[in-house]
Amino acid sequence: MLKNKTTRRTFLKSLSLGAAVVGAALMGIIPVIKGWVKKMRPPGALNEKEFLASCIKCGQCIQVCPVEAIKVADITDGFGIGTPFIEPRDQACDFSCDGLQCVLACPTGALTHHINYSHEAEMAVAAVVAPEQCIAAQGKGFKGLARGNDFEGKLRYNEIDRWNPIAINEHPYDLESCELCVRQCPIEIRIDMCEAGNPPSGEERQCPPEPAIRMKEMGIVNGKKAFLPEILDGCVGCGVCEMICPAEPPVIVMKERPGSGRILI
């Protein structure tokens, strides 16, 4: 009788322990279902459902990124714990590795190995959300540091150092009309290089087939020519335009790509 009682108590205790552990783990679905996981993923990421299934949460993509654009998700992301994400306003992916190092580093194919070049990435899509904020739309130019002194983001400036990205706050601009979003767009930079007969790494295949962004004439404002960025079909949603935009909040932000299953704010 006594033995039965202890057995029963051990069983109930063990059941509670098991239920607590399973319950804690299953709570991980809440952020996923509620859409709290509003993450932009690295290049090549599968659609969100498959991405969460396939990512082994090792962070090898984080380690190879030359501009350190990729961060690791916390337990607040539930099942998305340990997955990589990008906050483009802080640090966008500028493809300065050229070879999609994060894709090559991924051991499971959560970042699909089917893409090789920057223009094949489908990370997000840029959207002009605050045109009234745009410096160029006010007919103004831009002089100084794009994001101020304290901003820690980096970009690769080909003309300065092909191999090492530098801090944006070490690179002041002086532009007659602000066009930073177009000037720093990795797709546009590649198109320009290709048109000059000098494709990245000397590889024709690095050449993007379509432009991603351009400044569109908006007539005369304050006696000067006004422009507004226009997002084109070649945009891969890398987020550089969002990062570099001096306006606060930025004129352009990254939005989810249809079919990616991701929500971006």
């Binding site: 459902k49 340990g82 580093a105």
Partner: protein, 322 residues
Amino acid sequence: MSKLKESFRTLFGGKPGKPDPANFSDDAKVIHERQSGKRTADFKEEFGRTKETSRKNTYWRRRRWLVIIVTNLLFVLSYKLDIQMLEGALTGSRFVGFHLADLNASLQVMLAFKQVLINLLIGTVTVFIMWWLLGGRTFCSWVCPYHILAEWAEILHVKLYKKGWAKNFKFDRRTRTWLWIIFAVFAFLSGYTVYETISPTGIISRALIYGPGLALLWVTLILLFEIFFSQRAWCRYVCPIGLTYGIVGATSPMKVQYHLDSCHHDGECRKVCLVPHVLEVTKAKRADEPIVDIPADCTRCGRCVEVCPTDSLLFKFKGLGS
């Protein structure tokens, strides 16, 4: 063969069986017979002193802690100093470019994703072979960063327990097997790597490499539970990673071996063991052979090896000379 079956049975949580003395080998019978004689008072006194010294022996523990720290530091430094030796985290990494994947993390991904990329396969097979050779649960006590924290928490637990400030609830060891199955089924059905959400191994590994986060609060919670309510509960009753590596190590050539001849059945080993059921054989009249392999759930931590006053428990790599 029946030894292996028994090894798996106890790994999955079954209570260790009592072997029938009728089936003991002749050599074992002779030793058991000889050992049943009375011990003299002089012997007892001297042996007591030997036990005291052996109890303080931390030869393997010191080496093991060093290995855990160095391995995890190698991950951290590979990233922080860009020395590129061991890139990634414990769930998946590259050792000088060669893929490695944690078996349980890889299993979760395979079940959830239902596709296996060649890189993951290479990493998984490599790690499988590595830990099969090294003893399976050797991963737990020689690499897992949670293990070392839990070991420190255990030292505190034992102190508090002696003072009556902590309880030590025991659970059914089959819980771990059920959790392993549940997490595998959940991964397959839901398409999410459900266990990774709460895996302290992955959480600590990433926290060390990429910086701390809120997930460490969960790890703290488990440690507090172990300190105040149940000694080494996670490793003993919960962790599916431990079971996965236990299965891999069941047939491993790397063993802790028990030598009946010199044993005084004093149970010093069972007091320090993370998984004391694997040491049932060290009780009097249990060993059916003069030399018996400790079964699969053993983490090869070496605590029993170092505290045994008579060196009756020793590391052994089978196939190599003694």
